[in-house]
Every structure is written in structure tokens, then in C-alpha cells.
Amino acid sequence: MRARSYLWLILCLVAGCSAPGAASQPADYAEGYAVDQGYAMDHRGLSGGERRPTQEVLTLDDVTNGLQMNLARLDTLAEAEDPGAVAPGNGAPDRMLVYRGRIDVEVSRTDEASTKFLAEVVAWGGHLQQQEQRAERGAVILTVRVPAAHFDEAFTALREAGRVLGESRQAEDVTEEFLDLGIRLDNAIKSRDRLLEVLAKASKVEDVLAVEKELRRLTEEIERMEGRRKFLADRVAMATIAATFLSNQDAPPPVKKRRPSRFDWINSLGPRRVMEGY
């Protein structure tokens, strides 16, 4: 609400002065008020789009439209400040979070506990990414992917499996990168379409070759960006959890490989020989 009032105040100032860069803004609002800092946003600018130095004179309508979009953006951000809104699976559409977690749990039977957890992961629609076993404390290390909506649930299940020795969780916000990729992808596709039109009209061989070269470059770039967007979308959709199950049982004594005595008569002793001596 305070931000809204602030915006309207600046709107008045901008309308009155119509001089770019005349007002200074709080750093937090830098993106939303880019127009005032000498940058004009294109129609996607509020989502982190490209900025270009303002060369043309902005009309009052341009500024008003931009500010209305900023208001909508601020409303969305205000909703996102609600802790519930950032929880995985709560579907905050403008925040894309990649959830990762690691937990070490001490259990009585590592094989049973890991198998049980894996069954739960599969039931949630997740899958095993990597499994590793180590002799030390019968360790079973599972790396699993679970739908982000089940991230908390998975951690709860792991905590209940035994005694938690260590735990870490992180959420990486990839919203900006994802949206930026989308914008650059749109632009690249539009450029490609335009180049195709140019290609259709080109008559000189050297023009055709030059356009085709640029088309190849653009196509590669488009594919790369699409791949990255798919990767990010997958990371957002499926959280990654590395769970280490450690046994709380004392390790069995190592099996000794007997080194025979250098004295033959000692080697001839023992209960086995006596009992099987018939």
C-alpha cells in the first residue's frame, strides 16, 4: 500500500517534469521504476527484459502504462512475501524455485530405511537418480528427484526414519533467468522469421549465403535456449534430495585373514583338527 502511494507520487512528478532521470528511487524499486532512471522498458521490461537507453521522448501515456504494469507487479511481489506463497507446490507463478536438499540420517537398518524411502519417492511420482553404498557404517546414499510439491513431505519422512545427523536445504530462484531466456527466445524466433522472409526475397548468392549463415547461428541459439529453459523447468518441477542412511549399529568386527604361524607345531593345533581328527 505504501509502495502504491509512492508510485502515484512519482507518477505525478514524472508527469510534471517529464524529464528522465530526474527522480531518485529506492534501490528495491530500481527495476519497477527503470523509466525514471533513464531507461525505457519494452513491453516485457517489467519482467526483467532488455533495457535500452532512452533516446526518444516518452509520452505521458507511455509512462502511465508502464506504471500501471509496475503496480500489478508490486501486487504480485507483495503476495510472494507471504511465506506460504514461496513454499514448493503452492504455485506462486512468478517465482521459479529450484529446491535442493541433503540429509544424513542414522537408522537401525540402512537397507530397510532406504528401500522404504525410495518406495515413498516413487509413490509421489519421483524417481531414483543415483544410489551408492559404502562399507563404512553400512551407508546407503540415495539421490532422488521428487516433485517439488513433495519436497517438505520427503524431508519429514526422512526425519521420521531415524536420528538426523545433519541437514541442509536450499531454494535457488531462477525466475529471472527463466523469463530472460523466454524473452531472448521470442526475439530470436522473431529474428529468424524475419530472416526467412529476407531469404525468400534475396536474389544475390552472397546475400543468400549471408542470411543462411545468420539463420544457422540463430537456430543454434534458439535450440540452446530452449534446452536451457527445459532444464530449468525440470529443475523447478522436480526437487533433488541426497539422503545418506547410516547404521546406528556397531560395525561388526572386521574378518581377519589368518596369517599362519611360522611355527608348524602351532599351526597343527586347534579344535577343528581335534574334533575332525578321525
Binding site: F263, W265, L269, G270, R273, M275, G277
Partner: protein, 152 residues
Amino acid sequence: MNLRVLALLLCGFAAACATPIELPSDFVEVDDYAGFTAVTADEARLQVRELHDSSEAALAFWIEAVRHDFVDQRGYQLIDEGEVNDRAGTPGHWFQCAANVGGERVGYLLAVWADGAFWSGTDLFVVEFAAREEVFAARLQAVRDALKTVRR
């Protein structure tokens, strides 16, 4: 008459001399190429052997060597150990161990005497007694008592 009695006495003496240990009750001597062997009906086995080692060493050395091999190398559980004198009063040493044989827990008793000389190595006299754990426990004391009757 006197000659008959004397002959019988001599035979008895000779027979007694041939047995290296006075067997506890319920043990019966059996033929075994490995040495003097006696068994019980419940399959406890007792064996007496004379062995030799070219190294000349005192009993204390052999005690350490056996303990190291049994405990550190074979993983036997050393239950108890102590000294014992044979019939002639020569000091020896005994070990009582527990071990697994074929997945079964067994008791094992070893008594050893050593006579060393630098020109001939060491003559060793060993008594071994082994049985399933419960049989072993039931007969252990009788065998330990019999060790004092060892005749070398």
C-alpha cells in the same frame, strides 16, 4: 604264586606307563594316527601329542607365540589360562578358548609343556581337549584335573 603276582604287577605297570594321561571317567581311548586320542560318547575329544620345533625357546616364548596365534590371528576367544604341573612336577601352561568350528561354538583346551636344548630345538608335549560348548563345559574340570597326571 609269587611269580604270577609279580608278572601281573609288571604288566599293570607297563600298561600304566603307556598311557600319557590318566583319562577322566567316560573317556575311552581310540585309535588315531595323530597321537593318543580318547573320546566320550557325546563326542568330546582329547588328544595328546609330542611335537618338535627346531627353534630352541623357553616355555614363556611358546606361551606368547600360541596366545598371539590363537587370539590375534585366529580370533579365538581366550576364556582363561594358567599354569599346571605334570605328574613329575614340570611346569606347563594351559589355555581355555572358545571358537567357531563349522558354524558351531566349541570349547577348546590346550596344555603345553616344553623342553628345549640349543642343539636339538624344543620338544613339546601338548594335550588338547575340544567339544561342543555345553559338552566342553560339563567335562572341563575333569580334564583339567587330568592334566596333573600327564606323564611324559
